[in-house]
Symmetry: C2
Subunit: 304 residues, 2 copies
C-alpha cells in the first residue's frame, strides 16, 4: 500500500471512474493508474470498483466503506505537510479563499487589506465563483476557505460558521414613488418590476420565499450575479432592485435611494466554511477569526 495508490483511488472516484482522466490529473500514465488500482485491490484482497467488462462503473460495497478512510489518510498526509510548513515558515505560504462577488466586493476588502499587512509573505488567492462552486472547491481541497450566504450549510464534509447577519433591502431611483411611502410593504414592492440576484446567489432563495409566503406574484425582469449589475439597471429605470444593503454606498450611488427591508425580509447569514479535518495554518486561522469571530476551529481537525 502506498500513497500513490490511495491518491489514484480518490481521484478515480472524483473523476467519475475514468482512468484516463485520472492519469491526466495525477500526471502519470494511464496503464500505471490501472496497475496501481489492481495492485491495491490484490493487496487488500477486495475489489474496490464495480466493473463491466473493462470499464469501471462505481464503487463496490467494500470500496464505499474504504473510500472514507482513504480520504482521511490523504487529508492527514496533507495535514502533515501543512503542519510542517507552519513551523518551517510561519509567515509564508498560500491561502485560497473562494467567495462570491458580493463578499469579494463589499465584505472582504477590509479584511484582506489587514491580512496583507499582517502576513505580507502569504500568497493570497481570491477565487470568485458561485456558492456551489465554492462548496466543490472546498470539498476537493482547491480552496482553503469559502465564504457565501448560500449553500455552505448542510454539507457533511464542511464545517461552517456565521460571519454576520443582514436583511435584503430595496433600491430605487432617487425620486421613485416608493420613497414617499411611510412604511414599505411587500405588496408595494410587488407592484413594480424587480431586478435582483440570480438563483443560488446572495440569498435569492430567501426573497422568493417571502413573496411566495405572502402570496404575491412578482415580475422579476432581470436576475444578475452581482449588485453592480442590478444597480445599473435600476438606475436606467428597468425596475426596482432588491440587494444586500452592504452593496449600497450612499456617497457613490447618488442616483439611487436605499429602502431598508429589515421588517420585510428574513435574516440572511453570511457564512464561512472550511473542510472538516483539514489543518489550518496560523494565518488561515487569523483570517477565519477576522471574518467569523465565533468560529471554533478546534473541532475542525476531527480529533475526538
Amino acid at each position: 500500500m502506498n500513497f500513490q495508490q490511495l491518491k489514484i483511488v480518490r481521484e478515480t472516484v472524483r473523476r467519475g471512474y475514468n482512468l484516463t482522466a485520472v492519469a491526466d490529473a495525477i500526471y502519470t500514465s494511464q496503464p500505471g493508474v490501472s496497475k496501481n488500482i489492481k495492485d491495491l485491490e490484490d493487496e487488500l484482497g477486495v475489489e474496490l470498483f464495480v466493473r463491466r467488462g473493462k470499464r469501471l462503473l462505481g464503487l463496490t460495497e467494500p470500496g464505499k466503506e474504504l473510500i472514507e478512510t482513504v480520504e482521511r489518510i490523504l487529508r492527514d498526509a496533507q495535514n502533515l505537510r501543512n503542519i510542517a510548513d507552519q513551523f518551517a515558515s510561519r509567515e509564508q505560504g498560500s491561502l485560497t479563499v473562494a467567495t462570491t462577488h458580493t463578499q469579494a466586493r463589499y465584505a472582504l476588502p477590509d479584511v484582506i487589506k489587514q491580512f496583507k499587512e499582517r502576513y505580507p509573505q502569504v500568497h493570497l488567492a481570491l477565487h470568485q465563483c458561485s456558492p456551489r462552486e465554492i462548496v466543490e472547491m472546498l470539498v476537493s481541497g482547491e480552496a482553503d476557505i469559502g465564504i457565501a450566504t448560500e449553500a455552505l450549510e448542510g454539507v457533511p464534509e464542511l464545517v461552517s460558521f456565521p460571519c454576520y447577519a443582514w436583511h435584503h433591502a430595496v433600491i430605487v431611483p432617487q425620486d421613485h414613488p416608493l420613497t414617499q411611502l411611510p412604511v414599505l410593504t411587500l405588496e408595494a414592492i410587488a407592484e413594480w418590476p424587480i431586478v435582483t440576484y440570480h438563483e443560488g446567489f446572495t440569498g435569492r432563495s430567501q426573497i422568493d420565499k417571502v413573496f411566495a409566503a405572502a402570496n404575491l406574484d412578482v415580475d422579476i425582469v432581470l436576475s444578475a450575479i452581482d449588485a453592480d449589475v442590478i444597480k445599473t439597471y435600476v438606475e436606467v429605470g428597468l425596475g426596482i432592485g432588491i440587494i444586500a444593503p452592504m452593496a449600497f454606498n450612499a456617497a457613490k450611488d447618488t442616483g439611487l435611494a436605499l429602502l431598508p427591508g429589515d421588517h420585510l425580509f428574513p435574516v440572511s447569514t453570511t457564512r464561512l466554511a472550511v473542510h472538516r479535518g483539514v489543518f489550518l495554518r496560523d494565518y488561515a486561522r487569523h483570517f477565519v477569526a477576522a471574518m467569523a469571530p465565533d468560529a471554533e476551529l478546534a473541532e475542525t481537525l476531527g480529533i475526538p
Copy 2:
C-alpha cells in the same frame, strides 16, 4: 513521504529514540532507518527529532505536533486492511484479547465458549497480563480488546466501557469466627491477617482506600496476582482473604466460606477497552457486545 517513513517515526518514539532498536523492530537495516528519517525531515522541511551530536533524544516541537497525525495515518492504514479483511472473509481472522487472571479465569470462559461456537474460524488469542501491560498492548496495537478492573479508564488513547459491577468479598475457612458475626464490619476484618491481591490488580486500590478511610491498619501478610493463590493460603490458615466474589465457587471451594462485602467495599467496575479510532471487525464487535452490552462502538472510529 511513504508509509515506511511514517512507521519508522512512530517506532522511533515508541522505542525511546534508539534507531538500532527501531531497525530490529521493523526488520530492516539501521542505516536505512536513519536515511528514511532524514528523507522525511528533508521533505517536510522540519527536524522531527532533537539531536545531541548523532544521538536522538526526543521530539522537537514540530515533531510533537506531527506525531499525532502520523499515528492516525498508520492506524487508518491498518483500518483499511481490517475493513478489507472484513469483506474478504467475514468469519475469518484473529482477535487478541488482553486481560487479567481474574477475568480470564472467571468472567471470560462463558463468553469465549460462545464466541468460538459462533466464529470457529477466528483465531482467538488470550494474553494474560497486568492491567498496565494491557494498556500498553492496546496502545501499541498488539491487542484488540482489553478487559480489566483497573487502569483502563483515563487513558486518552483508549475508549472503555463498563462490563459489570461488583464488590469485594471476604473468604475465610469454613469454621472461622467471622462466620458467626451477625454483620461483618471492617473493624472485624482488620483484626485478622489478610491475604489479597497485589497492587494494581483486581481493585486492590479500592481495598486500600476503604481501610485507610476507616483509619484502620491492616496486616497484609500476602499479596497475590490471582484468587486461586489467595484461596490456597486462606485454606492453610495464613489469614482471611479479600477477593472478587466471582472467584468463589461454593461447589468446589468446600473448605471455605464467602462473606459478601457489598456493604463494606465500594463498587468495582470491570471494564473493556479498545483503541480509539481502530476499526473493529464484526466478530470483535460481537465479542465486545457480549462483554459490555452498553458499549457504543460508533464513536470508537473517531469519525466526527
